[in-house]
Point group: C2
Chain length 448, copies 2
């Protein structure tokens, strides 16, 4: 494999720091040819990288190897309420796991938390599925309604959109602003249209923008007066403790949505989700849902038909390993020390390769798992395709929008977590190259 | 607590060995008064036992404590296909877990098995739920149909019936014969009525009868020509390796339904389920589904929306612990040595207390988790009530029938696994006492 990096730029006589729109057609063509030669070389170099998902790296997974040594054969296997964690029962999870998960979500009291299995996505799916087949709290099952709509702040998380798409729910794009979704639009839909039954939110270090909802936005959510009695905010607090920086001034905190909804007189309006997938092990952590006691009872009724209970041994294992929220926070700083250089490496390479060219912008998140890149309009699909041809698989362009349709074809989600720093450097260089190539093609095309 | 046992009988001058129908009214009354005095004493003795569910005992759970020491912190955490079991992905489970679960089901090839999470009930629920919301293999979703029916061999497993009841599916009772469900009735419904979409089966050591389907019955199942293209046999092989006796002549084996359905030209007609809930830990074992490759693909599509994958760490832990089917079989004999004396103790106490009275019959299973008791018609509810008043909670009478309605009010499921042998002795004595009391009440009532 040919190693390539910014030093090689000179070999290709790149003119990277002049804006394309200020170049003559001649200059553009020259630049394009030069970059394209380089691209062809890279294609031959045999890179093979998958950056499509926000997967923790092996180094991160190794941080929690100790979890495997936590519950040994002669451990006390009773939960604090005396239940044998190995046996059936305990639909809501063991109390100590409910407490830990509540604390991870910012201090939700134990009676408002259910500790579940290994995938918060699965709980979200179940909530939508149960609403579809049986309805929420005695309301009409969604499958009996002519139309059901969800609001989708965009760009957002593709797997959220897949769930609502799967159930034939109409998805409505809501623009993300700097401090969260456009709340005027949210209010307009939620308060006027009884078909609007939900909204997907990732309130902290959002996927893929890294946006943190402001206190004001969170309170505007809590103050919503929905037209539908079974409207629910699907508050996926996936990155609630997933800071990239140790400096507490750089660590985002948002108001507790459960408490805020209560205060605003809408205790049942929100389902909050979280998991330890990016704290312990991605595929075998704990997930949880937090909501009002009335919603918990509604969910428990469904659970009592659906399952014999979630894996309480793994719940106890996690509690023994992390002890409490301080243990979790400490572990998150270990994750941060692995993740932060990766984010910064991508950001630096983007800065170095693209700054001043006016052909792309990107986010610089303080937490979460993604960098969100915006190309010139109409370029994202082709950039992703070119990267794939050269051996780097990115999240499909469009995936961050409902139905996979990015109206301006310009958003690309970059997931820096899994590759090594070296791989990341290569991949970002290639990405920069592809952004330039496609932008040049687009610019040349517009010149005719 | 007053300890009571068969020795005490003399104190109460019991006349247990004369058939009630041969007694005079006088004799019946005398017997009743005597038994009732005893019952009142037992009520005061402070027994407190829950025999309502087929839960493994603590001693049984302790058999697999070693499972907790199996995957230690410096273990190789890659599956045999190279996948890191800690990370996301692997929707169908790791190959070695699929193989083990396939072997537990009698040698189903790995490509026809999905290794899942901790609850086979949850997979069954998901199969029904997905059929309801999305349909099976492109067929009309069940919620769009006027009527959907399931056949329910009775008595059967209450949690099966709860799932179909929850989805508003009409349940039709099918009598259980000595060698399985009444196949003439099954064929009649399945082959003539396209609304019949499924049948709940526990083919080996059935819940609660302990019935083993004969080879002929299994092959008649495979030969069904359903009127509905999306008819599926829900083959809950919950007790596939759950023998009570070491003697292989007493260990039931049934034909592999997956292979039989293939041979009969109906490869897609069956979903088979199993779990290690009663092999390793009841609440944190592995579950699996086995079915045709086409069904697997249909299910995988649903899974890809529903989850990020099941807990592969626990899958690997189980494979490392049991190694292979021989390891499982060995463990099952350890379970048997704990369970068998409990079953025999109940059977002996029933024999001792009730033989020759013509007021009850019961099964003597060679495997599984239950003894099924039949009282005189119209007595089961009252027997269960009387036991509960005295402190022993049994499975609700009627629970073994759809909608909780036992048409003759006579079946009671006895779950001997959880209590200690001493507790079991007490509980069975009380049970015998209640059976007698209620039978006497019924007999006196009929005399006017």
């Amino acid at each position: 494999m040919i190693y390539f990096d910014i030093e090689h730029k000179k070999d290709y006589n790149l003119l990277t720091m002049k804006k394309y729109k200020e170049m003559t057609k001649e200059e553009l063509k020259k630049e394009y040819d030069s970059l394209n030669r380089r691209y062809r070389d890279v294609c031959k170099s045999g890179i093979h990288l998958d950056m499509s998902r926000g997967k923790p790296s092996i180094e991160q997974l190794d941080l929690s190897r100790g979890l495997l040594d936590t519950l040994y054969a002669d451990a006390d296997l009773n939960a604090e309420d005396g239940m044998d964690v190995r046996n059936y029962g305990g639909l809501l999870g063991i109390p100590e796991a409910r407490r830990l998960m509540g604390d991870i979500m910012g201090g939700v009291p134990v009676e408002k938390v259910i500790a579940c299995g290994n995938a918060s996505l699965n709980i979200m799916y179940d909530c939508v599925s149960r609403a579809y087949s049986h309805g929420i709290m005695g309301n009409t099952p969604w499958h009996e309604l002519k139309e059901v709509k969800f609001l989708c702040p965009v760009p957002g998380y593709d797997r959220h959109f897949k769930i609502t798409e799967y159930f034939g729910i109409e998805m409505i794009n809501i623009p993300m602003l700097e401090d969260g979704p456009d709340m005027d639009k949210v209010r307009e839909y939620v308060e006027k249209d009884p078909d609007v039954k939900g909204i997907w939110c990732v309130p902290k270090y959002s996927n893929p923008e890294g946006t943190v909802y402001s206190d004001d936005v969170v309170r505007q959510f809590a103050a919503l007066e929905p037209a539908a009695p079974d409207f629910r905010i699907f508050w996926d607090n996936a990155y609630c403790v997933h800071h990239l920086y140790e400096d507490s001034a750089l660590q985002a905190e948002i108001p507790d949505i459960i408490a805020e909804c209560e205060k605003a007189g809408h205790p049942d309006m929100v389902y909050e989700f979280c998991s330890t997938s990016k704290i312990s092990f991605a595929g075998s952590g704990l997930a949880a849902i937090a909501t009002s006691v009335a919603n918990i009872e509604d969910i428990r009724k469904g659970f009592s038909v659906q399952t014999i209970g979630y894996d309480k041994v793994n719940q106890l294992r996690h509690v023994h390993y992390f002890k409490d929220i301080e243990g979790v926070k400490k572990k998150m700083m270990e994750h941060a020390s692995i993740l932060r250089p990766k984010f910064e490496s991508v950001e630096n390479a983007l800065e170095e390769g693209l700054a001043g060219l006016d052909i792309g912008t990107w986010t610089k998140p303080k937490g979460g798992y993604f960098i969100s890149f915006y190309s010139m309009d109409g370029c994202a699909k082709e950039i992703v395709r070119k990267c794939a041809v050269a051996g780097v698989k990115l999240t499909g362009a469009g995936a961050t929008y409902p139905y996979g349709k990015d109206p301006r074809d310009r958003n690309i989600r970059i997931a820096p977590s899994f590759p090594t720093t070296d791989e990341l450097k290569q991949a970002t260089e290639l990405f920069v190259l592809c952004v330039k190539l496609v932008s040049l093609e687009k610019t040349l095309e517009s010149l005719g």
